[in-house]
Symmetry: C2
Subunit: 230 residues, 2 copies
């Protein structure tokens, strides 16, 4: 007989792509560069993440706003698309007003009713996260909105996930972590959290030596899963 799984007392969420839909940024790319929007969006996202990993390994941290801007500049240069200052500003401003996924609002409300402590743990800098959560009207739903910025180190370094343990003042085993990025869920699992991968796109599982405990298709599956003792 295996030991009983301790009850979750907190759930920590990734922000971009997990709670907040980045679709409006992609749509704006297509408006600005017709026919190239999808390629630029994909290259932008890829480069943004590469920079977070490479800079973390190089110990040359730069905050997420600047890394995101640098990723956009690269993506436009690679696509041969001119990028004016006001275009860059419009795209970065769009990041501050992303809508939560409809299933995110509902899941958050349901989990909050279950007396779970909720938090956000994001690569985003405080200057990006504060207006994002406020504009969505979600600030009072979260016990804490945590940024990697104070550590100068990005996900999936264990130090990032440890931040949630320290700020929530709960043991690892009582914390669940939710991300739509498989590698982020793997990083959280590797650290010791119970993890939920929101596989919205039906992507293959990443092979990182620590698989997520649960794979769900939308956040709507989360409250019943947690209620059932996941």
């Amino acid at each position: 007989m295996s030991a009983p799984v301790p009850a979750l007392r907190a759930l920590v969420f990734d922000a971009y792509g997990t709670l907040f839909d980045v679709h409006t940024v992609a749509a704006l790319c297509e408006t600005l560069w017709p026919g190239k929007g999808e390629a630029i969006t994909r290259a932008w996202r890829a480069k943004q993440l590469e920079y977070t990993w490479q800079r973390s390994l190089m110990r040359r941290y730069q905050d997420f706003k600047r890394v995101t801007e640098a990723g956009l500049r690269y993506a436009c240069a690679a696509a041969g698309a001119p990028l004016a200052d006001d275009q860059l500003r419009r795209l970065m401003d769009a990041y501050l007003e992303l809508s939560p996924f409809p299933d995110a609002r509902e899941a958050i409300a349901a989990l909050k009713q279950r007396k779970l402590r909720l938090a956000i743990l994001s690569n985003g800098s405080p200057a990006m996260l504060r207006p994002l959560v406020k504009n969505a009207g979600l600030r009072e739903m979260f016990h804490a909105v945590l940024s990697v910025d104070e550590l100068e180190m990005y996900k999936p370094a264990p130090a990032v996930y440890r931040l949630a343990v320290e700020k929530l003042e709960l043991p690892k085993g009582a914390i669940g972590f939710v991300s739509s990025n498989c590698w982020d869920a793997c990083g959280a699992k590797s650290f010791g959290f119970r993890t939920f991968w929101v596989n919205r796109a039906g992507a293959p599982l990443d092979d990182l030596g620590a698989a997520p405990d649960h794979v769900i298709a939308t956040l709507a599956e989360l409250p019943p899963l947690v209620a059932a003792g996941a």
Copy 2:
């Protein structure tokens, strides 16, 4: 007046894509999965590198052979392309018999004549690098063939570049580093090497807080540049 630049006494090369042409692997992908070869090759390379960065940050090292295999499995799953064991083996075997770029052979011979100590520093595991260099008939050209494997940490972590300092027993300032991966050249520059980015594809510069000292289009430009005191 700025201080004179000390003469280079050694040149350290990245392997895959820098000295060795991975084109045959891409061609084999197209043979195995007609019409999907390019997409699979691109996704494979991207995932292979992501895994190196993510696993380094997670402290869950797995050697480059296994990371490369895992990247291929992911790429095939994402493309809906079945991957049989013997197909995986053929592709991994192709990695052991890559040809050096024509400009690589000539540059190595020219640099060797100038009494420069030459080395390879690669993410590749020793079991991948040893046959690769031997099959190309280049073993006697290199003072050392160094793998990150003994560190259990991938590029661009500074510890990787430090390995070359230790094995070559030369100060940082006397070592030049050559890579076709901009982020690798940036990592080496950030560590303290004089760096040469071989920008074969005409890609934009990565913004990683440490730009390469020299950007060249092919390795043929390297010997005259070094001769001129670069």
